[in-house]
Symmetry: C2
Subunit: 352 residues, 2 copies
Amino acid sequence: MATIDDVARTAGVSKSTVSNVFSQKRPISKEVTERVLAAARKLNYRPNYWARSLANRTTRIIGLNMPGERVKFSLFHLSLMNGVLNECSLHGYRLLVNSLPKSYLNELPHVSSEPVDGDILLDPVEKDTRIAERIRKNLPVVVIGRPPGDFESKVSYVDNDNVANGENATQYLLRLGHNRILFLNASRYKTVSIDRGLGYRRSLEAAGVPFDPQLLIHKDPDMTSSSFGYSISKEMLMKLPDITAIITDTDKMALGVYRAASEMGIAIPDDLSVIAFSDDSVFAPEFNPPLTGIKLFGEQLGREAAKLLIDQCAAKQHSVKRILISTEMVERGSCAAASQNKGKIQGGMKNE
Amino acid sequence: MATIDDVARTAGVSKSTVSNVFSQKRPISKEVTERVLAAARKLNYRPNYWARSLANRTTRIIGLNMPGERVKFSLFHLSLMNGVLNECSLHGYRLLVNSLPKSYLNELPHVSSEPVDGDILLDPVEKDTRIAERIRKNLPVVVIGRPPGDFESKVSYVDNDNVANGENATQYLLRLGHNRILFLNASRYKTVSIDRGLGYRRSLEAAGVPFDPQLLIHKDPDMTSSSFGYSISKEMLMKLPDITAIITDTDKMALGVYRAASEMGIAIPDDLSVIAFSDDSVFAPEFNPPLTGIKLFGEQLGREAAKLLIDQCAAKQHSVKRILISTEMVERGSCAAASQNKGKIQGGMKNE
DNA sequence: CTGTTAGCGCCTTCAT
DNA sequence: ATGAAGGCGCTAACAG
């Protein structure tokens, strides 16, 4: 590969002139520019990205960081990423997906700074160590989701109002007359599941419905959403036949619930209402019956997060911002008023 | 940020010793190592990624390259990416998603080498310029999908046998007695659509069924899969009521076909058989009726591509390899034998 | 407008 | 096992 020196030599100019022809940081005469460009073309030269980064102290790359060892993007992450990518391409940033396990990064030969100007952190959990690490390294960070604890006021983030989401989903079902509502929440420790769980409890309390801990279950991180939805709803509907409504974390999880219900001869929405937190607008309407849900606008979350981060990288300023993306309840056909005789139809015992 | 000099100074050793403590490229005594590490910890030092890359002439980053200006990952890309990421993390590579439009990259200030050791190219098309560009820059490349024209023998690639896939799907329907089969293919110019189209025609010819150009339609790149599937199948079923089977490019497209059929009072599979090329094992079984399809194993495609590329980066060798991932026909419930009286039921004319 | 001279932070011979 | 010096390719500060 030709270097800047080669070009300078064959064009008969200095390195810095070549540099400035390419970077356009200071004006170079038309003729010289032509001469340099011709030489560059001839030598098939292009500035070396890493040498440039080293001298510039910036990479124009932002990172997308997933927690956990095995990276496994979900549909929701896909939406986020599409949003992030679109914003990136608008500002000339590249996106680095961080897939390396911590264990690897801590081995001596692999210890190094990160090749990014900043990071977007996905799926924050309580006791998330990623934020503190980056603050220590003085690396710009934007979180998608609520940062845990104190960090909420220390780093910028983009989120839905998940307490409100939990409240709204629950309230919606309460209004339909359901009072035994099973909540199949996201994995424990994720701040999103904490928030939604809180919203769920608040709505119950506001309606004077006692909170039953049995009815709030966190996803098993080792299972797929749909198989978890299937097995846990089957188990719970068996054990507590007075359950008349289920809130699920995702549309895939709802799919599992649909299957369980169908196998058990439970009709949706007549005997069981289902509502999901979801971003998908393609599959949900095609469920049978179409799935009612709260739409999260993942692409927008991603876009806003990227925008915040890129701003932060460019300005090197530390104004902490918080952006809440509003959600939208989409009523389709999976929820109905609670039927009074559900318990008997199912042959189970009612608590009331 | 502390540099290697700072550490060397406070540890009372030379730069090269510090370098070797971290890189472990030559043995350093236990005591000195301890001393250096202590100094590093104290100064919060970590080797600079860019400086290292510059000196090493390698980044340990591979690129994932999408064609087109607006990046929009689909479900299938998601599978690919998960595979790529898993393989990356196994070998200590990071993944850079290439999202920058060509127009941007051609502006003078942005012209530069790519910050990657090699690239995985997605969705190759006829006349794809990306491959030649990279060969010129001497950048390792692996294509997912069949490279166009001559490049097939010049670059490594991972693909399904899409001619066979096209043949198999068609043959399957022919055996069920269908002979007016609509093929809703991927976008024109994609090598995958060319291959499948070829397979489709071959099967027809082998069965002595005349090929009708009207029945082979390429996806409109500006539409979503499902809306394309919906509108085009509605139009075609109207125009040519003797169509008794449809092959779709993806499961999302099949969803559109389902909707069109339902609106038109056409029963699947009784009046219309549907088969899709698909990677999704979550939604397809939940279609009503469950969707029959040819499973593509996207994650494996991604994994193998990453493996090939990383090999190539490490070895700097140019042995061109070709890996075909076998597919699997999954029979569910969306296909049935062609009914003899379909034309009459639909009120249309039959060709026979 | 252009050239000269120092770095950016690390790695790598070649010594010892 | 450790040190010294030079180089990776580019940008930046200072001249003129």
